[in-house]
Amino acid sequence: MEAVKTTAAHEIHPMENVLRMDRIPHIWCPGCGIGIAVTAFAAALEKANIDLNKVAIVSGIGCTGRVAGYVKLDSFHTTHGRAIAFATGIKVASPDMKVVVFSGDGDLIAIGGNHFIHAARRNIDMLVVCVNNFIYAMTGGQVAPTTPLAAYATTCPFGCVEPPFNIPYLADSSGAVYVARWTALHVRRLTNSFVEALNKKGLSVVEVISPCAQYYSRINRLGDGLDMMRFYHDNSEIRHGEDTKNLDIGFQQKIIMGKFVDRERPSYTDRYQDWLKQRKVGM
């Protein structure tokens, strides 16, 4: 593929440093929120003051699984559900790397749910970005472990009968040190959360509620991407420090956002190194 040729300064994309411009246009549908999450992340990378050569981004499978391919870092597009496990290997074997997992709700919370809770329990030093669009979109709109009760999906034609996971609560109770949730509408706050999380030692989880204007929206008659953004605008509320127990998302109900958890716990790698020293192993 030939890189996009740029001649004049104004033609240079402001995020060329952090995005793979030769991969644009991306595959995401009009009205999708994943691109917004990526933009916020790219902005955060520039703000966070970290060595980009030392950042690895790992994605799983699905719409958000394609993020790794658009970000100009060491990018890994792994198998379905295993992004966190793969990232754990990078971080534990090479602690000087900064590791970001960027994937979707199905990938991280269903097929990869076990790795999500265990990475949080171990407090592996990484940022996990979970774009939650309430549905399996890449495969055409099937029910997810985050689909709100009674919402429709192609594999639950009479409405979802399974209560969804509350992702911040799951992360909090498993031991994550930083937990936040924003919608794709709240770009500035989302970017700030990314910056904070990137500079946080330990496992951070940032959930991004994103419109799926093709599948989730169509089957549930929610209009287009803009209509979904309007819904976020009218029906979201910031409550920093809210008890994560209270963050369930009902179908077309109010979405509570904010930074819910920000605490200190020794990370896996730090504790391991400390204990080697304390116990004088190999000295």
């Binding site: 391919g69 295993r82 990232a87 074997a93 090479s94 192993v281």
Partner: protein, 413 residues
């Protein structure tokens, strides 16, 4: 390049095969093992966990086998040599990511101490029924390298070699041992570090921007890079071009897969390791691997005492398969006898390569034990007496098989 003395537990040990493999990994320069406890492979993980600090290496026990093998692939791409250890059900769980590793051309090692299956099977006893799974277990086309060691010493030696070939061909390598060898305690001599040859990772030396993660050198193997060196790698399990970018069209798919297959196939002669005894004038050649090859030695001895000209071909590498050598032997040998602890896996490969020129007699075993050498001897006798060509692979019924079957008949009556 020689091994780092820090990594090598030189000396004469009295240890089991599992432990020998753990020590072998350390000697090979392995810096990271992720695993999940599963009988009968656990001792290898424990051994590595115990000694890893000596080589500034580490062991992490993951939440399952899916996580273990995924973490290993991640660790390799962060620049270190890595391995995972498993058996039976854990091996099945690892298959998807094993194919992922093959697609990404990831140099990693997988130790499978085979146990009886399917499913939970017989966790504490031996089996050799994962042989075809090691070749075809993940979906899609790829070639692999697999070893079948027959002693704790070989588990040490071939663990080192597995790491070397993984680096040499940038592919996952399997050590397909079995419970018998894994739990067998014998003398294992670990030589001095300067006597252990280590293949270092072939890192790309050019500038960022010039690196294509899948652009091969003349030997069809691309040099590696690691995360953190400024190359902005894009590594995906999707079919990709040399730069790693995903493409779905036929031509790119063909190029991508063709090389995965060819880099092993075209280097077969360099990879394959066989041990032969008395095959030159043999009427019957016993083809065996792993623990079965050690049991076969006695069966062959008994047959030779009866005056039968019988030789042994031992598969040290089971994959790639020595098609050419089996075909050559089929020109002179009347028959092949294949004892294996399964209901026919390598026997069918032998039959494929014999092109109908020699009979192939399979001595199957249901697992949870090894062959009775008398059965192997009987099968050799049967093979030498049976002059007519047999249709396909002939299954020779062992004593145990006949006993169980006849008892069943009696109960039925």
């Amino acid at each position: 390049m020689n091994a780092n003395p820090r990594d090598v537990l030189s000396g004469t040990h009295y240890i089991d095969g599992d432990v020998a493999s753990g020590f072998g990994a350390l000697a090979a320069g392995c810096k990271f093992i992720a695993g999940y406890p599963i009988t009968p492979s656990t001792e290898a993980a424990e051994a590595f966990a115990r000694v890893a600090y000596k080589g500034n290496a580490m062991f992490i026990q993951m939440e399952d086998e899916l996580a273990s093998v995924s973490a290993v692939v991640g660790a390799v791409w962060s620049g270190v040599k890595s391995m995972t250890i498993t058996s039976g059900p854990g091996y099945s769980l690892m298959m998807e990511t094993f194919g992922f590793a093959a697609m990404l051309e990831t140099p990693m090692v997988l130790l499978n101490i085979q146990r009886g299956g399917p499913s939970t099977g017989v966790p504490t006893k031996t089996g050799q029924a994962d042989i075809m799974q090691s070749r075809w277990g993940s979906h899609g086309d790829y070639e692999i390298i697999a070893f079948a060691p027959e002693s704790p010493q070989e588990l040490f030696d071939y663990t080192v070699k597995a790491f070397n070939l993984a680096e040499r061909y940038r592919c996952p390598v399997m050590i397909m041992s079995d419970e018998c060898v894994g739990h067998m305690t014998e003398k294992v001599v670990i030589p001095a570090a300067d006597r252990i040859e280590i293949e270092p990772r072939r890192f790309f030396k050019g500038q960022p921007g010039q690196y294509s993660p899948f652009k091969p050198d003349d030997d069809l193997v691309p040099p590696m890079a690691k995360a953190g060196d400024g190359y902005n790698l894009y590594i995906s399990g999707r079919a990709h071009n040399d730069q790693g970018m995903p493409y779905t069209n036929e031509e790119f798919k063909l190029r991508c897969i063709r090389r995965l297959v060819d880099k092993i196939k075209k280097n077969k002669e360099k990879i394959i390791e066989l041990r032969e005894e008395n095959t030159k004038d043999a009427e019957v050649v016993v083809v065996a691997y792993g623990i079965s090859s050690r049991v076969a030695v006695r069966g062959i001895e008994l047959a030779r005492e009866k005056g039968i000209k019988v030789g042994q071909l031992r598969l040290v590498t089971i994959w790639p398969f020595p098609d050419e050598r089996i075909a050559e032997l089929s020109q002179t040998a009347k028959a092949f006898v294949v004892p294996e602890i399964n209901y026919g896996q390598i026997a069918f490969e032998v039959d494929r390569c014999a092109h109908g020129r020699s009979n192939v007699v399979l001595v199957p075993h249901g697992g949870a034990g090894v062959h009775n050498p008398d059965d192997i001897c009987d099968a050799i006798e049967y093979a030498v007496k049976h002059k007519e060509p047999l249709e396909g692979v002939h299954e020779y019924k062992t004593r145990l098989e006949r006993k169980v079957f006849e008892e069943k008949m009696r109960i039925a009556e």
